[in-house]
């Protein structure tokens, strides 16, 4: 285990650098505005009053490094600034959208692992036969399909033709748990890509593991098939799949934005899209920091977990 500690230190350092990069990148946004930022942001209503208000709200009369220091210090205290459109603190926007997004994420993650591993093991057990061919082709096909196209087709079939489920979450407010039917399609769409990727990796890992000498030896000992599969082969098959978790996190963060827009769920993604449409820069920045840092932390966590379980597998750092 020589070098483990230094690897962890390097990985943590990379995480810190990524955090700093996210904060800098998000801040650079207002700096990158062409010409006078206040005029550019006023957009369709360029009356002088509004421009002055924006200039004051963003403290554009002060040098950039001072604003960066203030903003970063505010972030540490949970102060994300105030919205240009409404004057409300950005943190209240985040608080509003937090519940539905976390609910979606938790449901998806809770279903992702059993569904992905289950499908992967099923395909590996029947390698080359009908079940495997079916699972492999479907997972390979659905894997690349954008959520919005898949989701809109599901709405057409299940809400429009069959009338089983509500087409969107309009009218249910933020309390989505009270209306589980409205959650079925969003979670299904959110699951589609990560489940396919996970199932394919688990299948490949399982096929390798089941062909290995230690599984043959376990068979000779007369250990039951289920125990060989789940207690011996699966842990080894999971390691390469876990490495791909980072990419899955990226997909889930993107997927949440699309799914919330498609099913009109009032979560963080919807707040972000509304702010983008209104060019409400402080709100966009606050949400971008939340999304970006979530990605950095989850990536770091995934890498550390993978490294703990399979130190042989090289993880970038």
């Amino acid at each position: 285990m020589i070098g483990l500690r230094s690897w962890v230190a390097r990985r943590l350092l990379l995480g810190v650098a990524q955090t700093a990069a996210v904060v800098l990148l998000v801040f650079a946004l207002t700096e990158a505005l062409p010409g006078d930022a206040a005029v550019a942001l006023a957009g369709d209503q360029p009356d002088p009053e509004r421009i002055t208000a924006i200039r004051e709200a963003l403290h554009l009369d002060r040098p950039a490094y001072e604003r960066l220091a203030d903003w970063a210090a505010g972030l540490l205290h949970g102060d994300f600034g105030t919205s240009l459109a409404s004057g409300r603190p950005v943190s209240s926007y985040i608080a509003d959208g937090f519940g539905p997004t976390v609910l979606l994420a938790v449901l998806t993650m809770g279903l992702l692992v059993p569904a992905g591993v289950g499908l992967g093991v099923l395909a590996a057990r029947h390698e080359g036969r009908l079940a495997d061919r079916l699972v492999s082709s479907v997972t390979l096909g659905v894997y690349a399909v954008p959520e919005f196209a898949f989701g809109v087709l599901l709405i057409t079939v299940f809400a429009l033709r069959l009338g089983w489920l509500p087409p969107t979450a309009v009218g249910y407010g933020t309390d989505l748990l009270a209306h589980p039917a409205a959650l079925v399609l969003p979670v299904l769409v959110l699951l589609s890509r990560p489940v396919c990727s996970l199932a394919r990796l688990v299948r490949a890992g399982m096929i390798d593991a089941l062909a290995s000498p230690y599984v043959a030896q376990a068979r000779r000992y007369g250990i039951s098939g289920a125990r060989i599969r789940y207690a011996h082969a699966l842990p080894n098959a999971i390691a390469p799949a876990a490495q791909q978790l980072a990419r899955t996190i990226d997909w889930l963060l993107c997927g949440v934005i699309v799914v919330e827009a498609l099913y009109v769920i009032p979560g963080l993604g919807t707040v972000l899209m509304n702010a983008v449409a209104e060019r409400d820069v402080p709100v966009v920045q606050g949400l971008a920091v939340v999304f970006g840092l979530t990605a950095v932390v989850l990536n770091l966590g995934a890498d550390l977990v993978v490294h703990r379980f399979s130190p042989r597998a090289g993880v970038a750092a």
């Binding site: 390979l140 057409t156 993107c254």
Partner: protein, 269 residues
């Protein structure tokens, strides 16, 4: 392995058939669409001389379908090419250099960029600028090049450590001949495989960005925009949404099946 050999040609044909329809519509559609859009009909109607009905502003859906595939396919191709234009030199230089500081300088920022969720970066820029099709392909290339650069570097580092490169170096061959003539050629296959996978990812990203309104006009003839804008009329006139959505599904699904089959075939030979 016997059974595997049985599957792949099937999957190749399947992918080819699925991808052929949207690809043909995207590339040849504009030729058959005709110039003028004709008189505007009422929104979201069926029939009345319009094969697939009308869309949210009363345009003919079939004509929009013919016109709307080009942007997705062209932006995706341009973005993939651009990503490699940056990733190739970056990866090759950092793999072939013997100066550690240069390698760190080139590759560390790439590691840092990898952490930013791709769609988030695109939305961030869209909040400030209003990128057009060119801007969107630049953005998608920007979020794709870090991963491509890492793959180029990993493949090139393996090729660069071979004795052949050492021999070339001792003979005093130029850097260009070593990097492009030998290393570049020996990693071409790995790159072709990665390019296929990346193109499907880029197609996904371009379509999703267009659906969210990035890089396109709000009434553009674009399959993803059609899905978004015609959603309000889904219950009255589903064709305006279902047809472009099906085409996008077929395009991404088919290209993924096709690339996978080609890769498997290569591996065996």
């Amino acid at each position: 392995m016997k059974t595997l050999a049985g599957i792949r040609p099937g999957r190749f044909t399947l992918g080819l058939v699925i991808v052929a329809v949207p690809l043909a519509l995207a590339l040849l559609g504009p030729l058959f669409a005709g110039g003028s859009s004709g008189p505007r009909a009422p929104s979201f109607t069926l029939g009345g001389g319009h094969w697939l009905g009308t869309d949210f502003v009363g345009r003919d859906v079939w004509q929009q379908v013919l016109l709307g595939g080009q942007s997705v396919v062209l932006v995706a191709l341009a973005a993939t090419a651009l990503a490699y234009l940056v990733a190739l030199p970056l990866g090759l230089i950092s793999a072939l250099t013997h100066r550690t500081w240069l390698e760190e300088l080139l590759m560390r920022p790439v590691d840092v960029l990898l952490a930013v969720p791709s769609l988030l970066l695109i939305l961030l820029v869209a909040a400030v600028f209003s990128p057009g099709a060119v801007g969107l392909s630049l953005l998608v290339a920007l979020v794709n090049f870090p991963d491509a650069a890492r793959i180029v570097r990993a493949a090139a580092a393996e090729a660069a450590s071979r004795p052949a490169v050492e021999a070339l170096r001792m003979q005093g061959e130029t850097w260009w001949r070593m990097a492009v003539g030998y290393v570049g050629r020996s990693i071409a296959r790995t790159l072709a495989a990665d390019a296929g996978v990346r193109l499907t990812g880029v197609l996904y990203l371009v379509a999703t960005a267009a659906f969210l309104g990035v890089g396109v006009e709000p009434d553009a003839a674009d399959w993803a925009v059609m899905v978004d804008r015609n959603r309000t009329g889904l219950f009255v006139q589903p064709w305006a949404v279902v047809v472009p959505a099906l085409l996008i599904v077929a395009l991404t699904m088919g290209s993924n099946l096709l690339f996978d089959a080609v890769l498997q075939r290569r591996k065996r030979t």
